[in-house]
Chain length 266, copies 2
Protein backbone atom coordinates (compact mmCIF):
# COMPACT_ATOMS: atom_id res chain seq x y z
CA UNK A 1 0.00 0.00 0.00
CA UNK A 2 1.56 3.27 -1.07
CA UNK A 3 0.93 6.64 0.51
CA UNK A 4 -1.18 7.85 -2.38
CA UNK A 5 -3.83 5.23 -1.56
CA UNK A 6 -4.67 7.29 1.49
CA UNK A 7 -5.61 10.42 -0.49
CA UNK A 8 -9.37 9.76 -0.57
CA UNK A 9 -9.37 8.91 3.13
CA UNK A 10 -7.52 12.13 3.98
CA UNK A 11 -10.13 14.06 1.98
CA UNK A 12 -12.80 12.36 4.07
CA UNK A 13 -11.02 13.37 7.30
CA UNK A 14 -10.67 16.96 6.07
CA UNK A 15 -14.38 17.15 5.28
CA UNK A 16 -15.21 15.75 8.71
CA UNK A 17 -12.92 18.29 10.41
CA UNK A 18 -14.21 21.19 8.32
CA UNK A 19 -17.85 20.41 9.05
CA UNK A 20 -17.03 20.24 12.75
CA UNK A 21 -14.94 23.41 12.91
CA UNK A 22 -16.63 25.83 10.51
CA UNK A 23 -19.78 26.45 12.62
CA UNK A 24 -17.45 27.71 15.39
CA UNK A 25 -15.51 30.14 13.17
CA UNK A 26 -16.49 33.80 13.60
CA UNK A 27 -18.92 33.03 16.37
CA UNK A 28 -18.52 34.59 19.77
CA UNK A 29 -17.78 31.39 21.65
CA UNK A 30 -15.08 32.13 24.20
CA UNK A 31 -11.67 30.63 23.67
CA UNK A 32 -10.15 28.86 26.63
CA UNK A 33 -6.64 29.77 27.72
CA UNK A 34 -4.81 26.49 28.15
CA UNK A 35 -1.42 28.00 28.98
CA UNK A 36 -0.54 28.57 32.60
CA UNK A 37 0.23 32.26 32.82
CA UNK A 38 2.48 32.13 29.77
CA UNK A 39 1.85 33.01 26.14
CA UNK A 40 -1.84 33.35 25.30
CA UNK A 41 -2.65 29.97 23.72
CA UNK A 42 -6.36 29.65 22.98
CA UNK A 43 -8.04 26.42 22.13
CA UNK A 44 -11.61 26.14 21.03
CA UNK A 45 -14.24 23.51 21.43
CA UNK A 46 -13.97 23.15 17.67
CA UNK A 47 -10.35 22.03 17.94
CA UNK A 48 -11.20 19.21 20.33
CA UNK A 49 -14.38 18.13 18.59
CA UNK A 50 -12.63 17.93 15.22
CA UNK A 51 -9.69 15.92 16.55
CA UNK A 52 -12.05 13.52 18.35
CA UNK A 53 -14.04 13.04 15.13
CA UNK A 54 -10.90 12.39 13.05
CA UNK A 55 -9.45 9.96 15.63
CA UNK A 56 -12.72 8.03 15.74
CA UNK A 57 -12.75 7.72 11.94
CA UNK A 58 -9.10 6.63 11.80
CA UNK A 59 -9.78 4.05 14.54
CA UNK A 60 -12.64 2.60 12.52
CA UNK A 61 -10.78 2.50 9.21
CA UNK A 62 -7.24 1.66 10.36
CA UNK A 63 -7.31 0.25 13.88
CA UNK A 64 -3.62 -0.71 13.75
CA UNK A 65 -2.45 2.81 12.88
CA UNK A 66 -1.04 5.20 15.44
CA UNK A 67 -2.33 8.74 16.00
CA UNK A 68 -0.54 11.81 17.37
CA UNK A 69 -2.79 14.81 17.87
CA UNK A 70 -2.38 18.30 19.21
CA UNK A 71 -5.29 17.93 21.64
CA UNK A 72 -5.40 14.30 22.74
CA UNK A 73 -1.78 13.13 22.67
CA UNK A 74 -0.37 9.88 21.28
CA UNK A 75 -1.91 6.46 20.59
CA UNK A 76 0.45 3.75 19.25
CA UNK A 77 3.14 6.26 18.17
CA UNK A 78 5.39 3.30 17.25
CA UNK A 79 3.00 1.82 14.69
CA UNK A 80 4.19 1.58 11.06
CA UNK A 81 1.62 4.16 10.00
CA UNK A 82 1.06 7.13 12.31
CA UNK A 83 -1.40 9.98 11.67
CA UNK A 84 -0.33 13.41 12.88
CA UNK A 85 -3.25 15.80 13.38
CA UNK A 86 -3.69 19.47 14.18
CA UNK A 87 -7.36 20.34 13.73
CA UNK A 88 -6.80 24.11 13.94
CA UNK A 89 -3.26 25.19 13.20
CA UNK A 90 -3.30 28.95 13.75
CA UNK A 91 -5.72 29.23 16.68
CA UNK A 92 -4.77 32.91 17.15
CA UNK A 93 -5.83 33.67 13.58
CA UNK A 94 -8.97 31.60 14.18
CA UNK A 95 -10.08 33.56 17.25
CA UNK A 96 -9.21 36.83 15.47
CA UNK A 97 -11.56 35.93 12.61
CA UNK A 98 -8.75 35.65 10.03
CA UNK A 99 -9.00 32.81 7.48
CA UNK A 100 -5.31 31.83 7.75
CA UNK A 101 -5.74 28.81 10.03
CA UNK A 102 -6.07 25.30 8.66
CA UNK A 103 -6.61 21.66 9.50
CA UNK A 104 -3.37 19.71 9.22
CA UNK A 105 -3.53 15.99 8.50
CA UNK A 106 -0.22 14.18 8.08
CA UNK A 107 0.64 10.54 7.61
CA UNK A 108 3.99 9.08 8.60
CA UNK A 109 5.29 5.68 7.50
CA UNK A 110 8.10 4.32 9.67
CA UNK A 111 8.83 7.81 10.93
CA UNK A 112 8.85 9.50 7.51
CA UNK A 113 6.05 11.92 6.41
CA UNK A 114 4.53 10.36 3.29
CA UNK A 115 1.31 12.31 2.80
CA UNK A 116 -0.02 15.60 4.06
CA UNK A 117 -2.95 17.96 3.68
CA UNK A 118 -3.76 21.49 4.79
CA UNK A 119 -7.50 22.10 4.52
CA UNK A 120 -9.05 25.57 4.91
CA UNK A 121 -12.82 25.15 5.05
CA UNK A 122 -13.72 28.87 5.10
CA UNK A 123 -11.86 29.68 1.87
CA UNK A 124 -12.73 26.14 0.66
CA UNK A 125 -9.16 25.23 -0.25
CA UNK A 126 -7.10 22.10 0.17
CA UNK A 127 -3.34 21.86 -0.31
CA UNK A 128 -1.93 18.33 -0.37
CA UNK A 129 1.14 16.40 -1.36
CA UNK A 130 3.05 13.14 -1.08
CA UNK A 131 6.62 14.40 -1.25
CA UNK A 132 6.84 13.77 -5.02
CA UNK A 133 4.02 16.08 -6.12
CA UNK A 134 1.67 18.60 -4.54
CA UNK A 135 -1.67 20.10 -5.54
CA UNK A 136 -4.25 22.71 -4.63
CA UNK A 137 -7.97 22.16 -4.91
CA UNK A 138 -10.65 24.81 -4.51
CA UNK A 139 -14.33 24.16 -3.94
CA UNK A 140 -16.40 26.91 -5.58
CA UNK A 141 -19.61 26.03 -3.74
CA UNK A 142 -20.68 24.02 -0.77
CA UNK A 143 -21.92 20.65 -1.97
CA UNK A 144 -20.76 21.35 -5.51
CA UNK A 145 -18.58 18.96 -7.47
CA UNK A 146 -17.19 21.83 -9.52
CA UNK A 147 -13.81 21.81 -7.84
CA UNK A 148 -10.73 23.11 -9.62
CA UNK A 149 -7.24 21.71 -9.20
CA UNK A 150 -3.75 23.17 -9.72
CA UNK A 151 -0.28 21.70 -9.49
CA UNK A 152 1.76 23.42 -6.79
CA UNK A 153 5.30 24.46 -7.59
CA UNK A 154 7.74 26.64 -5.63
CA UNK A 155 9.23 29.60 -7.48
CA UNK A 156 12.85 30.27 -8.29
CA UNK A 157 14.60 32.89 -6.17
CA UNK A 158 18.32 33.54 -6.53
CA UNK A 159 19.03 35.13 -3.14
CA UNK A 160 17.53 36.55 0.05
CA UNK A 161 17.70 40.06 -1.42
CA UNK A 162 14.97 38.99 -3.85
CA UNK A 163 13.02 36.92 -1.33
CA UNK A 164 9.72 37.28 0.51
CA UNK A 165 10.01 35.94 4.06
CA UNK A 166 7.27 34.93 6.47
CA UNK A 167 7.23 33.97 10.12
CA UNK A 168 4.20 33.61 12.35
CA UNK A 169 5.54 36.15 14.86
CA UNK A 170 9.00 37.36 15.87
CA UNK A 171 7.72 37.13 19.48
CA UNK A 172 7.69 33.33 19.26
CA UNK A 173 11.49 33.13 19.18
CA UNK A 174 13.75 32.90 22.22
CA UNK A 175 16.15 35.86 22.28
CA UNK A 176 19.16 34.18 20.64
CA UNK A 177 16.90 32.63 18.03
CA UNK A 178 15.33 36.00 17.31
CA UNK A 179 18.77 37.49 16.62
CA UNK A 180 19.49 34.68 14.19
CA UNK A 181 16.09 35.15 12.57
CA UNK A 182 16.68 38.92 12.25
CA UNK A 183 19.94 38.27 10.36
CA UNK A 184 17.88 36.49 7.72
CA UNK A 185 14.91 38.88 7.79
CA UNK A 186 17.03 41.99 7.26
CA UNK A 187 18.42 40.59 4.00
CA UNK A 188 15.01 39.96 2.45
CA UNK A 189 12.94 42.18 0.19
CA UNK A 190 9.49 41.67 1.65
CA UNK A 191 8.29 40.51 5.07
CA UNK A 192 4.90 39.17 6.10
CA UNK A 193 4.00 38.10 9.63
CA UNK A 194 1.24 35.68 10.55
CA UNK A 195 0.18 32.83 8.41
CA UNK A 196 0.97 29.67 10.36
CA UNK A 197 0.25 26.70 8.05
CA UNK A 198 -1.08 29.02 5.36
CA UNK A 199 2.39 30.53 4.91
CA UNK A 200 3.94 27.13 4.13
CA UNK A 201 1.22 26.50 1.55
CA UNK A 202 1.96 29.87 -0.07
CA UNK A 203 5.63 28.83 -0.19
CA UNK A 204 4.60 25.59 -1.93
CA UNK A 205 2.44 27.70 -4.27
CA UNK A 206 5.37 29.92 -5.29
CA UNK A 207 4.43 33.20 -3.57
CA UNK A 208 6.68 33.07 -0.50
CA UNK A 209 10.39 32.20 -0.69
CA UNK A 210 11.48 31.41 2.84
CA UNK A 211 9.90 30.74 6.26
CA UNK A 212 11.91 30.70 9.50
CA UNK A 213 10.27 29.60 12.75
CA UNK A 214 11.09 28.04 16.11
CA UNK A 215 9.30 26.01 18.74
CA UNK A 216 7.24 24.01 16.27
CA UNK A 217 5.67 20.73 17.32
CA UNK A 218 5.58 17.66 15.03
CA UNK A 219 1.87 18.30 14.42
CA UNK A 220 2.75 21.81 13.13
CA UNK A 221 5.05 20.53 10.38
CA UNK A 222 4.56 16.81 9.55
CA UNK A 223 1.50 17.38 7.35
CA UNK A 224 3.19 20.31 5.57
CA UNK A 225 6.44 18.49 4.74
CA UNK A 226 5.08 16.32 1.86
CA UNK A 227 3.35 19.41 0.43
CA UNK A 228 6.49 21.56 0.51
CA UNK A 229 8.75 18.77 -0.81
CA UNK A 230 6.13 17.71 -3.36
CA UNK A 231 6.17 21.27 -4.71
CA UNK A 232 9.97 21.18 -5.03
CA UNK A 233 10.79 22.99 -1.78
CA UNK A 234 13.05 22.20 1.13
CA UNK A 235 12.09 21.97 4.79
CA UNK A 236 14.52 21.05 7.58
CA UNK A 237 15.59 22.18 11.03
CA UNK A 238 17.99 25.14 11.20
CA UNK A 239 20.76 22.52 11.48
CA UNK A 240 19.65 20.84 8.25
CA UNK A 241 18.17 17.74 9.84
CA UNK A 242 14.74 16.09 9.53
CA UNK A 243 11.88 18.56 10.15
CA UNK A 244 9.39 15.90 11.30
CA UNK A 245 10.34 16.24 14.98
CA UNK A 246 9.57 19.98 14.91
CA UNK A 247 11.70 22.57 16.72
CA UNK A 248 13.51 25.31 14.79
CA UNK A 249 12.32 25.02 11.21
CA UNK A 250 13.32 26.61 7.91
CA UNK A 251 11.47 26.12 4.65
CA UNK A 252 12.55 27.52 1.30
CA UNK A 253 11.47 27.22 -2.29
CA UNK A 254 14.90 27.61 -3.84
CA UNK A 255 18.08 25.90 -2.58
CA UNK A 256 20.13 29.09 -3.07
CA UNK A 257 17.89 30.95 -0.62
CA UNK A 258 17.92 27.97 1.74
CA UNK A 259 21.73 27.80 1.75
CA UNK A 260 22.10 31.55 2.30
CA UNK A 261 19.59 31.53 5.19
CA UNK A 262 21.06 28.43 6.85
CA UNK A 263 24.49 30.15 6.95
CA UNK A 264 22.96 33.23 8.63
CA UNK A 265 21.03 31.13 11.17
CA UNK A 266 24.14 29.14 12.23
CA UNK B 1 -30.59 61.43 -1.88
CA UNK B 2 -29.25 59.61 1.15
CA UNK B 3 -26.11 57.54 1.25
CA UNK B 4 -28.00 54.27 1.45
CA UNK B 5 -29.33 54.81 -2.08
CA UNK B 6 -25.82 54.13 -3.31
CA UNK B 7 -25.66 50.62 -1.82
CA UNK B 8 -26.67 48.77 -5.00
CA UNK B 9 -24.26 50.88 -7.07
CA UNK B 10 -21.39 50.11 -4.69
CA UNK B 11 -22.20 46.40 -5.02
CA UNK B 12 -21.96 46.82 -8.78
CA UNK B 13 -18.56 48.53 -8.47
CA UNK B 14 -17.33 45.76 -6.15
CA UNK B 15 -18.39 43.07 -8.63
CA UNK B 16 -16.65 44.95 -11.45
CA UNK B 17 -13.46 45.26 -9.39
CA UNK B 18 -13.56 41.63 -8.22
CA UNK B 19 -14.00 40.29 -11.74
CA UNK B 20 -11.07 42.43 -12.89
CA UNK B 21 -8.74 41.57 -10.01
CA UNK B 22 -9.42 37.91 -9.24
CA UNK B 23 -7.88 36.47 -12.42
CA UNK B 24 -4.58 38.11 -11.38
CA UNK B 25 -4.59 36.71 -7.82
CA UNK B 26 -2.18 33.80 -7.30
CA UNK B 27 -0.85 33.98 -10.78
CA UNK B 28 2.82 34.50 -11.43
CA UNK B 29 2.49 37.91 -13.04
CA UNK B 30 5.37 40.07 -11.82
CA UNK B 31 4.57 42.93 -9.46
CA UNK B 32 6.07 46.26 -10.35
CA UNK B 33 7.99 48.20 -7.74
CA UNK B 34 6.63 51.75 -7.89
CA UNK B 35 8.63 53.08 -4.96
CA UNK B 36 11.95 54.73 -5.66
CA UNK B 37 14.45 52.75 -3.63
CA UNK B 38 12.27 52.94 -0.53
CA UNK B 39 9.88 50.47 1.03
CA UNK B 40 8.88 47.69 -1.37
CA UNK B 41 5.50 48.86 -2.69
CA UNK B 42 4.20 46.56 -5.39
CA UNK B 43 1.34 47.39 -7.66
CA UNK B 44 -0.19 44.99 -10.07
CA UNK B 45 -1.86 45.37 -13.38
CA UNK B 46 -5.01 44.28 -11.56
CA UNK B 47 -4.92 47.33 -9.30
CA UNK B 48 -4.83 49.72 -12.24
CA UNK B 49 -7.33 47.85 -14.38
CA UNK B 50 -9.84 47.67 -11.52
CA UNK B 51 -9.54 51.35 -10.66
CA UNK B 52 -9.92 52.32 -14.32
CA UNK B 53 -13.05 50.15 -14.60
CA UNK B 54 -14.61 51.63 -11.45
CA UNK B 55 -13.79 55.21 -12.49
CA UNK B 56 -15.34 54.61 -15.90
CA UNK B 57 -18.54 53.26 -14.32
CA UNK B 58 -18.75 56.15 -11.83
CA UNK B 59 -18.24 58.64 -14.65
CA UNK B 60 -21.14 57.08 -16.60
CA UNK B 61 -23.53 56.94 -13.65
CA UNK B 62 -22.60 60.11 -11.75
CA UNK B 63 -20.65 62.47 -14.01
CA UNK B 64 -20.77 65.29 -11.43
CA UNK B 65 -19.20 63.21 -8.68
CA UNK B 66 -15.54 63.45 -7.75
CA UNK B 67 -13.16 60.48 -7.58
CA UNK B 68 -10.00 60.01 -5.55
CA UNK B 69 -8.15 56.79 -6.30
CA UNK B 70 -4.93 55.18 -5.18
CA UNK B 71 -3.69 54.69 -8.73
CA UNK B 72 -4.99 57.57 -10.84
CA UNK B 73 -5.22 60.49 -8.41
CA UNK B 74 -8.04 63.02 -8.01
CA UNK B 75 -10.87 64.18 -10.29
CA UNK B 76 -13.18 66.91 -8.95
CA UNK B 77 -12.13 66.36 -5.31
CA UNK B 78 -14.29 69.38 -4.33
CA UNK B 79 -17.56 67.90 -5.62
CA UNK B 80 -20.37 67.30 -3.10
CA UNK B 81 -20.04 63.54 -3.57
CA UNK B 82 -16.55 62.11 -3.86
CA UNK B 83 -15.70 58.43 -4.34
CA UNK B 84 -12.54 57.20 -2.64
CA UNK B 85 -11.14 54.01 -4.18
CA UNK B 86 -8.39 51.56 -3.39
CA UNK B 87 -8.79 48.57 -5.72
CA UNK B 88 -6.29 46.40 -3.83
CA UNK B 89 -5.68 47.48 -0.26
CA UNK B 90 -3.03 45.08 1.00
CA UNK B 91 -0.92 44.66 -2.12
CA UNK B 92 1.81 42.89 -0.09
CA UNK B 93 -0.69 40.26 1.03
CA UNK B 94 -1.92 40.06 -2.56
CA UNK B 95 1.49 39.30 -4.04
CA UNK B 96 2.19 36.86 -1.20
CA UNK B 97 -0.95 34.89 -2.09
CA UNK B 98 -2.73 35.70 1.19
CA UNK B 99 -6.48 36.46 1.01
CA UNK B 100 -6.29 39.46 3.38
CA UNK B 101 -6.38 42.20 0.74
CA UNK B 102 -9.60 43.85 -0.31
CA UNK B 103 -11.21 46.37 -2.63
CA UNK B 104 -12.11 49.56 -0.75
CA UNK B 105 -14.94 51.70 -2.08
CA UNK B 106 -15.85 54.76 -0.03
CA UNK B 107 -18.26 57.60 -0.63
CA UNK B 108 -17.86 61.02 0.95
CA UNK B 109 -20.55 63.68 1.07
CA UNK B 110 -19.24 67.20 1.73
CA UNK B 111 -16.06 65.74 3.17
CA UNK B 112 -17.73 63.21 5.44
CA UNK B 113 -17.56 59.43 4.75
CA UNK B 114 -21.19 58.29 4.37
CA UNK B 115 -20.90 54.82 2.86
CA UNK B 116 -18.13 52.26 2.58
CA UNK B 117 -17.45 48.74 1.43
CA UNK B 118 -14.59 46.28 1.72
CA UNK B 119 -15.00 43.50 -0.84
CA UNK B 120 -12.85 40.35 -0.81
CA UNK B 121 -13.56 38.44 -4.01
CA UNK B 122 -11.42 35.36 -3.21
CA UNK B 123 -13.19 34.59 0.08
CA UNK B 124 -16.39 36.01 -1.49
CA UNK B 125 -17.12 38.41 1.35
CA UNK B 126 -18.36 41.97 1.48
CA UNK B 127 -18.32 44.19 4.55
CA UNK B 128 -20.27 47.44 4.24
CA UNK B 129 -21.77 50.20 6.33
CA UNK B 130 -23.20 53.70 6.35
CA UNK B 131 -22.05 54.91 9.76
CA UNK B 132 -25.35 53.94 11.43
CA UNK B 133 -25.26 50.19 10.67
CA UNK B 134 -22.86 47.68 9.12
CA UNK B 135 -23.25 44.26 7.58
CA UNK B 136 -21.36 41.30 6.20
CA UNK B 137 -22.45 39.32 3.17
CA UNK B 138 -20.94 36.04 1.97
CA UNK B 139 -21.42 34.53 -1.44
CA UNK B 140 -21.39 30.72 -1.21
CA UNK B 141 -20.95 30.19 -4.93
CA UNK B 142 -19.98 32.16 -7.98
CA UNK B 143 -23.14 33.27 -9.74
CA UNK B 144 -25.33 31.99 -6.93
CA UNK B 145 -27.97 34.11 -5.28
CA UNK B 146 -27.63 32.14 -2.06
CA UNK B 147 -25.83 34.86 -0.19
CA UNK B 148 -26.00 35.08 3.59
CA UNK B 149 -25.98 38.31 5.56
CA UNK B 150 -25.01 39.19 9.14
CA UNK B 151 -25.19 42.37 11.15
CA UNK B 152 -21.73 43.53 12.20
CA UNK B 153 -21.18 44.61 15.78
CA UNK B 154 -17.98 45.38 17.68
CA UNK B 155 -17.46 43.47 20.93
CA UNK B 156 -17.13 44.87 24.42
CA UNK B 157 -13.64 44.97 25.89
CA UNK B 158 -12.97 46.60 29.25
CA UNK B 159 -9.25 47.32 28.89
CA UNK B 160 -6.12 46.75 26.81
CA UNK B 161 -5.15 43.84 29.09
CA UNK B 162 -8.11 41.94 27.60
CA UNK B 163 -7.67 43.23 24.05
CA UNK B 164 -6.49 41.75 20.78
CA UNK B 165 -4.45 44.31 18.80
CA UNK B 166 -3.57 44.35 15.12
CA UNK B 167 -1.27 46.45 13.01
CA UNK B 168 -0.18 45.81 9.45
CA UNK B 169 3.51 45.88 10.39
CA UNK B 170 5.55 47.54 13.14
CA UNK B 171 8.05 48.39 10.38
CA UNK B 172 5.61 50.90 8.89
CA UNK B 173 5.99 53.30 11.83
CA UNK B 174 8.59 56.05 12.11
CA UNK B 175 10.77 55.48 15.19
CA UNK B 176 8.92 57.79 17.63
CA UNK B 177 5.60 56.42 16.41
CA UNK B 178 6.81 52.87 16.89
CA UNK B 179 7.67 53.63 20.53
CA UNK B 180 4.16 54.99 21.07
CA UNK B 181 2.68 51.96 19.34
CA UNK B 182 4.78 49.60 21.48
CA UNK B 183 3.40 51.22 24.65
CA UNK B 184 -0.06 50.14 23.53
CA UNK B 185 0.99 46.75 22.15
CA UNK B 186 2.74 45.65 25.34
CA UNK B 187 -0.46 46.11 27.36
CA UNK B 188 -2.56 43.87 25.12
CA UNK B 189 -3.32 40.18 25.46
CA UNK B 190 -2.99 39.07 21.87
CA UNK B 191 -1.18 40.54 18.86
CA UNK B 192 -1.67 39.85 15.17
CA UNK B 193 0.32 41.49 12.40
CA UNK B 194 -0.80 41.88 8.81
CA UNK B 195 -4.36 42.32 7.79
CA UNK B 196 -4.62 45.76 6.21
CA UNK B 197 -8.31 46.45 5.50
CA UNK B 198 -9.24 42.95 6.64
CA UNK B 199 -8.17 43.79 10.20
CA UNK B 200 -10.59 46.75 10.38
CA UNK B 201 -13.40 44.50 9.19
CA UNK B 202 -12.56 41.96 11.90
CA UNK B 203 -12.73 44.82 14.41
CA UNK B 204 -16.18 45.72 13.08
CA UNK B 205 -17.08 42.02 13.34
CA UNK B 206 -16.11 41.83 17.02
CA UNK B 207 -12.93 39.72 16.83
CA UNK B 208 -10.26 42.42 17.13
CA UNK B 209 -10.38 45.17 19.77
CA UNK B 210 -7.89 47.80 18.67
CA UNK B 211 -5.85 48.71 15.58
CA UNK B 212 -3.03 51.26 15.62
CA UNK B 213 -1.38 52.36 12.38
CA UNK B 214 0.45 55.29 10.86
CA UNK B 215 1.04 56.70 7.41
CA UNK B 216 -2.40 55.82 6.09
CA UNK B 217 -3.78 57.58 3.03
CA UNK B 218 -7.43 58.69 2.76
CA UNK B 219 -8.07 55.78 0.38
CA UNK B 220 -6.87 53.38 3.11
CA UNK B 221 -9.44 54.52 5.66
CA UNK B 222 -12.40 56.45 4.15
CA UNK B 223 -14.26 53.32 2.99
CA UNK B 224 -13.66 51.59 6.33
CA UNK B 225 -14.92 54.44 8.53
CA UNK B 226 -18.68 53.95 7.92
CA UNK B 227 -18.22 50.20 8.46
CA UNK B 228 -16.39 50.62 11.78
CA UNK B 229 -18.75 53.36 13.00
CA UNK B 230 -21.80 51.49 11.72
CA UNK B 231 -20.73 48.49 13.82
CA UNK B 232 -20.46 50.70 16.90
CA UNK B 233 -16.70 51.28 16.82
CA UNK B 234 -14.53 54.38 16.91
CA UNK B 235 -11.93 55.46 14.36
CA UNK B 236 -9.91 58.69 14.60
CA UNK B 237 -6.38 59.96 14.31
CA UNK B 238 -4.10 59.45 17.33
CA UNK B 239 -5.05 63.00 18.32
CA UNK B 240 -8.76 62.18 18.24
CA UNK B 241 -9.58 64.08 15.06
CA UNK B 242 -11.33 63.03 11.86
CA UNK B 243 -9.80 59.89 10.33
CA UNK B 244 -10.83 60.68 6.77
CA UNK B 245 -7.59 62.50 5.94
CA UNK B 246 -5.51 59.45 6.90
CA UNK B 247 -2.24 59.70 8.80
CA UNK B 248 -1.84 58.12 12.22
CA UNK B 249 -5.02 56.12 12.84
CA UNK B 250 -6.51 54.29 15.80
CA UNK B 251 -9.67 52.18 15.65
CA UNK B 252 -11.30 50.50 18.63
CA UNK B 253 -14.46 48.58 19.33
CA UNK B 254 -14.94 49.76 22.90
CA UNK B 255 -14.49 53.35 24.11
CA UNK B 256 -12.65 52.18 27.25
CA UNK B 257 -9.95 50.56 25.12
CA UNK B 258 -9.86 53.58 22.82
CA UNK B 259 -9.39 55.99 25.76
CA UNK B 260 -6.65 53.86 27.32
CA UNK B 261 -4.80 53.54 24.01
CA UNK B 262 -5.12 57.24 23.14
CA UNK B 263 -3.47 58.16 26.46
CA UNK B 264 -0.55 55.80 25.76
CA UNK B 265 -0.10 57.13 22.22
CA UNK B 266 0.03 60.76 23.36
Amino acid sequence: MTAIDFAAFVDELATLAGETILPFFRTHIGAEDKSRGGVFDPVTEADRAAEAAMRRRIGEAFPAHGVIGEEYGSDRPDADYVWVLDPIDGTKSFISGLPLWGTLIGLMHKGRPVYGMMAQPFTRERFYGDGAAASWRGYPARGSDMSSTRVLRVRECACLAEATIMTTSPMLFAEAEREAYRRVEEKTRLLRYGGDCYAYCMLASGFIDVIVEAGLKPHDIVALTPIIEGAGGIVTTWEGSDAAKGGRIIAAGDRRVYDEAIRLLA
